[in-house]
Subunit: 250 residues, 2 copies
Amino acid sequence: MVKSAERALALLDFIAEQGQVRFQEVVDFGIPKSSAHGLLHTMVESGWLDYSEQTRYYKLGLHAWQIGHSYDGHRGLVDAASEAMDILVSRLGETVQLARLEGIENVYIAIRESPHPMRMASSVGMRLHAHATGIGKALLSTLSDSEVDTRLSAVALPRLTENTVTEVDEILRIVDRVRHLGFAVDDEEFIAGCRCVAVPLVSEDETGVAAALSVTMPFQRTDASWPHAFYPPLQEARSMIRKAMGLAPT
Amino acid sequence: MVKSAERALALLDFIAEQGQVRFQEVVDFGIPKSSAHGLLHTMVESGWLDYSEQTRYYKLGLHAWQIGHSYDGHRGLVDAASEAMDILVSRLGETVQLARLEGIENVYIAIRESPHPMRMASSVGMRLHAHATGIGKALLSTLSDSEVDTRLSAVALPRLTENTVTEVDEILRIVDRVRHLGFAVDDEEFIAGCRCVAVPLVSEDETGVAAALSVTMPFQRTDASWPHAFYPPLQEARSMIRKAMGLAPT
DNA sequence: ACTGGAAGTTCCCATATATGAACCAGTGGT
DNA sequence: ACCACTGGTTCATATATGGGAACTTCCAGT
């Protein structure tokens, strides 16, 4: 609606994702040179971006960092999940992730990494397509069918591996199965060689934020017990977290 | 330069500071009603703000949180200081703070709180006037006189307690004394009843970021040994941190 | 010294934004 | 029912931004 504001915010997202960008990358991002100047100047002036004259790279500035610390929309959730996540990673030995849903993407808000040297590279703040991940499908299952339909139909869903499901109708069926089984899986649908089991934790109705918990592991460390063997520990962790938040154990 | 971008960013700062704001507060902040609409809509749409229809409050959104995690401008510094700060707080029993300088303000980037129930309320991300705090004066001492003069003369410096020094000339003299003594103090210049001793850690030339370390305590827990007794432990901590960063111990 | 590429600047005008004022709607108090 | 207050909307228009293209630096490679 307000073009330049939208653009400035989109640029922050872009730079956050890239780590650092050159002027030309900003232009390639879709902002014409002459407009990019003014915008970059404004953002550097106000402390939202840092510009190094040496390297000629633009990076996020201190204001960007500071604002992250002021956000407390899910602090309670992360705190409540902390202990259960510690227990889960030590029991299972695989990476445990807590994510919330935003639009059709899941955003990791807490991670406990597997002690194995071979593990998935994921980091807090990372944003992934919900239709292609286990935790994403667990999150989608907290929404109504019509809501899932609306959200997924709005854009083309990328196919990330040969297992990725991209038809909305089929995703709706899968999500329905998740509701009945109680857990969602990702069987190399996001990254080849990577499997994941996830359970929904809280719905948007309950806490204002939909969140889910997952365990992610390389294909090689799974056997015939996958994914069922992972469900009970995830359920226990969920009960523990929901109890810590003062919600019904489910 | 780009008004609406600047405004959007300033609004994020404002909301971060306030925690949550109502429409009217945004208008009072200086954005006319009709403009505020478009801007708030844009920012909510893009996920930078959350709006609750129930409470009619605007808060920071997930994107604001996410971007904070992408900033790594001082991660090395915070990591390098971590152990020394732990040691310092356990030795002194008073709140230890790490801050960097931005303009004429110091921003806390790490804190170890005193175990005493009575302690200063400070939090990571907090931004205070450098001329009125010990850590701020330690930070200013890493700049040249002319730079300090330029920065402080640009705006009126607020008087926060009856001890606050607000004349630039006198601050220049104080900062010069800090350079010779090696430490800066704040003797109830920021908050009545609050004293602080600080040392500069690294200069902007060395690491691109000026940082300082401080110990803050209530007046009542100080005696005649203040502030000198705090200097040696701060010096040791500084050496330890600088060593961890691969810099000369000073 | 020459060349190519990226950064940064300038100009102008079509287009989008900003804004004051008037107006509508919902809520809570009396 | 009425009033006061806040949130939200609409409109017309003065003003600021956006963007294409040509131009200037600056720098690194040859």
